[in-house]
Amino acid sequence: MANYAIALEYQNCIDCRACEVACKDENGVMLGADKQRIWVGAVEGGKTLADLFVNFYPSQCNHCIDAPCVTVCPTGASHFVEGGIVKVDYDMCIICKGCMEACPYEARFVDETRHAVDKCTFCDGRIQEYGTTACSATCPTKVRTFGDLEDAKSDIRKTLENREFFVLKESEDTLPKLFYLVPEDKKLRERTMGEGIKVHKWSEFAPKYEKATAKRREEWKEA
């Protein structure tokens, strides 16, 4: 059974936001600056005029293996489906917003058109047909590599096995599945990665994820 994830070459992001538009179009997400399943974060840096820069950080739901949003949901609206994708059943959501409080990544929002909390689904309908997500397919600079972590021949596995990467807020122990690829340029690495971010290699990282996945897999429902 697949375990979907995304590796992000975030140094390639040019903040064109084609991914945001593609996501809204593909998934019928309501309009609104705060109503995003996927977004590009921007952080300004530099101390002098000659040194000014802006970092762009594409982001979305991390589809954590130990997703705290699933744990706190009182109705079971937040759940795992095949592929380790975290989804919301809109018909079951009472909009208590507990999941929004529990998510360390602010990946969820209230969609008033659906009268439910909404979030990224890794385009779970689309990937059956096209093999990738709308955001991955649209990106002009190929920031995202979507794929199955359990398929050794998949692009994402090859990428992770050949590159160093990090995950967000590792200390929260949620085992997120957005893997940010460490820029190969040293200056860019220093500029975009703060102190305290741990860099990993797939060989050392995989056992922990595989063990946790095996433990939670029984909760995965049919898509």
């Binding site: 309009l31 952080v43 909009i95």
Partner: protein
């Protein structure tokens, strides 16, 4: 049996006219608060279910022939329209949850204190227990009205029954309150029933079970907040349930003093009741003050500073001084205001630290138009409609209490 009293199921019901029941001064005051609440509820549900832009606009809609909606959509996309964004993702829980914790914990802790007084066989508790317990349950129901307003789609609540989630702190509320509320009414029943023999036999087990359920309630409330692990200001409270219990006790004592000052001042045991509440109030203030030394919200800046000092000044310092000069009712009013500030601080403070410093390089803006707006602390002030709703929830609590008091005369129980 007094004239105008009818017995039913071991309880004495007063025969009152429609006007006595629904048009007394307290009920009129409650109607005023409820009317304010109705305006808020109307606005709230209008926004959630009736607002043209919020409820219809997707990318496809905006691309149709609706020029006005498209213009609004572009404006919203670029600048945000905070007046139509009921729930910002940065701060999912707000004033409704603050009011819920304020009234529900206050009411529950008051019920806990009454049960404790019964267990200790305090003389005054024999006279005031029924009234105080009814006040406690009315507060709890007012708090629940607030949380029901917070839930954007409460109609789906039946999934909590169809699809149990025992690992969820919020789901645990379902079995808890299914037991807690009926049990509290049973406790009140046995405090007031004419069947004294059965009541005496059951008194001790009821009190002990009641205390156990109260402690379980606060324990589960602690879990509910502490499961939100990324909200470190909530998780750093040691034994959060104890904090809820003692601050709830303080709120409950505040409300009890206000109620005593308004409705019980002609009783010959009024001074005795105030003396007990004063001692309990001073003890609660000392416990809360001790707890505050180990919590982490005092250092927050901006509006949180105002909430913190409002809480410390009105919830702890001023009432302590007023207790010392025996201005107990004024102390109760001060506690009631100050502890609301404490709940605001707790709920809003838990969301104070933005979640967006994901890369360790600073807080992210989600739009390049808002780079200069990125702040180190999150605080979205409540909408006016939300403030109106919590006033309505308070009015509902008052109305419930007054109806029970008029029908069952809980303030005059001989016990």
């Amino acid at each position: 049996m007094e004239r105008g009293v009818k017995e039913c199921c071991g309880l004495n019901f007063k025969s009152v006219s429609f006007a006595e029941l629904f048009l007394n001064k307290t009920m009129l005051f409650a109607y005023l608060l409820l009317a304010i609440g109705v305006v808020g509820w109307f606005q709230l549900y209008g926004l959630r279910f009736g607002h043209e832009f919020v409820n219809t606009t997707t990318l496809v809609d905006a691309g149709g022939n609706h020029a006005k909606i498209m213009a609004e959509a572009l404006k919203e996309q670029i600048f945000g329209m905070h007046h139509i964004e009921e729930v910002p993702r940065t701060e999912p829980w707000g004033i409704f949850v603050a009011q819920y914790t304020y009234l529900l914990y206050g009411g529950s802790a008051l019920i806990f204190l009454v049960a404790l007084a019964e267990l200790l066989n305090l003389h005054i508790s024999h006279k005031a227990s029924a009234a105080m317990m009814t006040l406690g349950i009315a507060m709890a129901l007012g708090g629940m009205t607030s949380i029901a307003s917070d839930w954007g789609n409460p109609l789906n609540i039946y999934y909590m029954i169809l699809n149990p989630q025992p690992h969820s702190g919020m789901w645990m509320m379902l079995p808890l309150y299914s037991i807690y509320i009926p049990f509290t009414f049973i406790e009140i029943y046995f405090l007031m029933t004419n069947k004294r023999e059965i009541a005496k036999k059951l008194a001790l087990p009821l009190v002990v079970i009641g205390l156990g359920i109260d402690v379980a309630e606060f324990y589960i409330q602690g879990i509910l907040f502490q499961l939100n692990e990324p909200r470190h200001l909530w998780t750093n409270f040691p034994e959060l349930w104890v904090y809820f219990l003692i601050t709830g006790a303080l709120s409950g004592i505040g409300f009890a003093l206000i109620y005593a000052g308004l409705a019980l001042r002609n009783k010959d045991w009024y001074e005795e009741l105030k003396a007990v509440l004063r001692k309990a109030g001073i003890a609660a203030i000392i416990l809360v003050a001790a707890y505050e030394t180990v919590t982490g919200m005092g250092h927050l800046e901006g509006p949180f500073k105002t909430m913190y000092y409002g809480y410390i000044a009105l919830g702890l310092v001023l009432p302590l001084l007023l207790f010392l000069i025996k201005q107990d009712v004024l102390a109760g009013i001060s506690i009631a205001i100050g502890t609301f500030s404490a709940r605001e601080l707790f709920v809003y403070g838990g969301n104070a630290h933005p979640m967006t410093d994901r890369f360790g390089t600073g807080f992210e803006a989600t739009t390049t138009y808002g780079l200069s707006d990125v702040e180190k602390l999150v605080y979205d002030a409540p909408h006016t409609m939300e403030i109106l709703v919590i006033i309505g929830a308070l009015g509902l609590g008052i109305a419930i209490f007054k109806l029970l008091d008029t029908l069952l005369d809980v303030s005059n129980q001989p016990h």
